[in-house]
């Protein structure tokens, strides 16, 4: 099953040309004996929107988390903007500030107000002045449509609102790339679109995005490329229409038939 559908726009060469923002080379990751990422090679170009799709347990979250080293890898290398990910400490923290991350379970700071959630990073990591951080945060909250909730606590908001705040919190760091790990799969169905709308507008503004999701509508509308993973490998990658209408590998056909029957 080695990349049969590889007629996608060339993405494999590993040379660090400046239009490549995130680059994974021969990445391997084990959880004990479980080989969850197997020889992953993947380049994400500046401004590209990448959708990662695949069956449960195929390693999508691990791939996403490896990019900001929430999950350390066992071999291979990952670079961001030409720079190898630092191992730990201050340099790693600095790198993470440049990578926005949105989690399935939102993970808003439960003891802080919505506004404080968004200003914390800018104040403590970017060292913005309080007035400046607040102004920027309110603009972002405005943009994701929750400015009127600024003084509430996360638990007082709906899931959709919380996830939009989480996006604002990540954007407040002015990241180079945004990672989304199933951002809508913990949401009630009627709240999915309000979050996807924010993501679509972000994509259209040229944000580089890696999005783990099974939302095909989003993939078709916003993605430049779909990466299909199974058993820790990238099995197939193609532009969304091509991937969904004419998948090449058996694994992808099988997977799509399962999610399409619903």
């Amino acid at each position: 099953m080695d990349n049969p559908g590889m007629d996608a726009p060339a993405t494999q060469p590993a040379e660090a040309s400046s239009d490549v923002l995130v680059s994974l080379t021969d990445v391997n990751k084990y959880f004990g004996a479980l080989h969850v990422l197997q020889d992953i090679n993947l380049d994400v170009k500046r401004g590209e929107v990448l959708v990662v799709i695949g069956p449960s347990g195929s390693g999508k979250s691990t791939l996403c988390r490896a990019i900001n080293r929430l999950e350390p890898i066992n071999s291979g290398s990952i670079t961001l903007d030409g720079q190898k990910l630092p191992e730990e400490g201050k340099p790693l923290a600095r790198l993470r500030a440049d990578v926005g991350m949105v989690f399935q379970s939102f993970n808003l700071f439960a003891h802080k107000s919505i506004l404080e959630n968004v200003t914390l990073g800018p104040l403590k990591v970017r060292r913005l002045k309080p007035a400046e951080a607040k102004k920027q945060a309110m603009e972002l909250l405005e943009r994701v449509g929750v400015a009127n909730q600024a003084n509430k606590l996360p638990a007082q908001l709906s899931g959709g609102q919380q996830q939009r705040v989480a996006i604002a919190r990540a954007l407040a760091m002015q990241p180079k790339v945004m990672l989304f790990d199933e951002p809508t799969s913990a949401l009630d169905p009627e709240m999915v679109n309000e979050v996807l709308d924010v993501m679509v507008s972000l994509a259209s503004e040229g944000m580089t995005m890696v999005v783990v999701t099974h939302e095909m509508g989003f993939a078709r509308k916003a993605a430049d490329r779909v990466v299909f993973m199974a058993d820790g490998r990238i099995v197939e990658q193609a532009p969304p229409d091509q991937f969904f209408d004419n998948p090449q590998s058996e694994r992808a056909k099988d997977f799509l038939s399962k999610i399409l029957t619903h």
Partner: protein, 224 residues
């Protein structure tokens, strides 16, 4: 009854209690600070710090407090020259505070750690993801939530500490249990009233702490 009142007024019971309150106050402050440092060590990414934290807690938590107090006055002071004051009584008071602090720090550490366990891992991941390194993430995100989740065990530790101040008697600190012994020795006919008086004093000291922690643990609970 009036004879018993005479007994009570002949002794400076409130003054003795004041010593226990001071012991409790200073020990609580130092033990809580040390406990916080230990808890940070135990959750830190540095294995040697984690190991030190765990060893400290296991050593202190499993040693009887009296043994620690006796160690302080018979070993730390005379052999290692740990001295806080040239005034004999002052010195023993602070050696008692030191012992109480070292001992209860292990319990405060574990109470805080149980609070850390109430904080979902996603909170720490989100903190790291916006670029906070370990110390700022602990200070700004983890510990504030951990303390709110640890108020009940912290309160229990504080209550135990207040009662354990009587162990300072082993360092001849003139606190209330020493006074009680004196009172009983010279007023054998009033053993039970004297005992009850002292016990009620502790109840009066401790009950507000229990009420306060119950109130705070509800008021400050983090809603998720």
């Amino acid at each position: 009854m009036s004879d018993f009142l005479d007994v009570l007024t002949n002794y400076d019971i409130l003054g003795a209690y004041w010593v226990n309150i001071q012991l409790a106050f200073f020990s609580a402050v130092f033990a809580l600070l040390l406990g916080l440092v230990l808890a940070m060590m135990r959750i830190s990414p540095v294995p040697s710090l984690r190991g030190f934290g765990a060893s400290y807690v296991n050593l202190m938590r499993n040693t009887p407090l009296t043994v620690i107090v006796v160690f302080a006055i018979l070993v730390l002071w005379p052999i290692f020259n740990v001295s806080f004051s040239d005034n004999f009584n002052q010195n023993f008071f602070w050696l008692a505070v030191l012992s109480l602090s070292l001992y209860h720090a292990s319990f405060f550490c574990e109470a805080i750690r149980s609070g850390v366990n109430t904080v979902p891992v996603g909170q720490a991941e989100a903190a790291r993801a916006i670029g906070l390194s370990f110390l700022p993430a602990a200070r700004l995100v983890i510990m504030p939530q951990a303390f709110r989740g640890a108020i009940a065990p912290l309160g229990n530790t504080l209550i135990a500490l207040i009662k354990n101040t009587t162990v300072a008697a082993a360092a001849s600190v003139a606190e209330v249990s020493i006074l009680m012994r004196e009172m009983i020795e010279s007023n054998g006919n009033y053993v039970i009233p004297i005992f009850l008086t002292i016990a009620v004093g502790f109840v009066i000291l401790v009950i507000p702490v229990g009420m306060l922690t119950t109130y705070l643990s509800q008021k400050l609970a983090v809603s998720r």
